[in-house]
Subunit: 203 residues, 2 copies
């Protein structure tokens, strides 16, 4: 015999999460037994709701409980700027800093010929539609600095070439608080290439 | 705005687990959205069942879905031997090795004067009852080698002194596969003290 069935089931569920192995799943299952009833109820209910309530915003493709997400539906956001990101979680990363007041566009992937992910496989058509129909002035590309990210950024700037919209890309370089000893060579190279003048030499 | 409410609730629930911080909880919540419906259903159901179905075995105090757990209720187990452990999960650790065929007794804690955990706070009375009423021949103490573990082991051997039962303690020493470089001094000292003869010197 091993664990009672309910505990075994919990272990199996926890093991589905990335990075959670047999031991962690066991620990979590046993910990579950000590949780308060109200937390358990909220937990079970949220799990069920998550499938039912969470859909994608019809405009920006972000996670939302309504057809149009609260960002796209907001009166106070700057609708002239769209920040293009790879995944929904990136939206929340930007929202957390609190200083960006434009809209978003979630691609749900990056172009990757190696993995057979082509432009039509990611959410680009709806981005074009938004640029055509809405009064967009700037598209900020905020995808990760990788081959796929660069390819996607290049492709987006290509298809938006004749659309009378400014296209920008977030800065890459040495992150804040990083110990220079541990910054990799590629990041350093990027940081060097994209260096900014702080005073200009005049004679 | 941050995440939709359902996702926020999930994050709050995941954050309750030991060792799960904000970022991991977020990752788990977003991962939940990608899980299959049947896993979600099993997950939610198991959570609810865990509070309702899991109780303690009336005999050994192990986690069980029945009044008497499957180990205590088994016909094939050796009822003459009781292995005393600290927590329910230790039972499952021993069960996994598969070679132990006796019963268990879960203390739910160790004696710790510093933390004000006294003998009457852990599950010792029922151990005494079992020794008095059942036909027990050996009690194996399998608690961790710490001040609390040693105190508890000492206390148990004290109260069982006159009970005509063999008391043993699991061996402590260098674990299998350990790199000697990384074995701590205390473990080495224990290993040395509890050394076993492999040949005996005869003249």
């Amino acid at each position: 015999m091993l664990y009672p069935e309910t505990i075994n089931n919990l272990i199996e569920c926890y093991k589905k999460f990335p990075g959670v192995g047999e031991k962690s799943a066991e620990r979590m299952a046993l910990y579950t037994l000590e949780m308060d009833q109200e937390i358990i109820d909220l937990f079970a209910q949220s799990l069920k709701d998550s499938k039912k309530n969470i859909k994608r915003c019809k405009k920006c493709n972000n996670l939302s409980e309504t057809d149009i997400c609260s960002i796209c539906g907001s009166e106070t956001r700057d609708k002239k700027v769209i920040c293009v990101v790879e995944e929904p979680k990136n939206v929340f990363q930007f929202e957390k800093i609190g200083s960006y007041n434009g809209l978003y566009h979630v691609l749900d992937g990056l172009i990757s010929p190696l993995e057979d992910i082509n432009p039509e496989d990611i959410n680009l058509d709806s981005l074009l539609d938004r640029i055509k129909n809405d009064d967009v002035e700037e598209v900020i590309i905020a995808v990760k600095p990788s081959v796929e990210g660069e390819t996607t950024a290049l492709y987006i700037s290509k298809i938006l070439e004749d659309k009378n919209v400014t296209i920008s890309k977030i800065a890459h370089g040495v992150p804040m608080g990083a110990d220079m000893d541990y910054v990799d060579a590629l990041t350093l190279e990027l940081a060097l290439q994209e260096r900014k003048n702080i005073t200009s030499h005049t004679e």
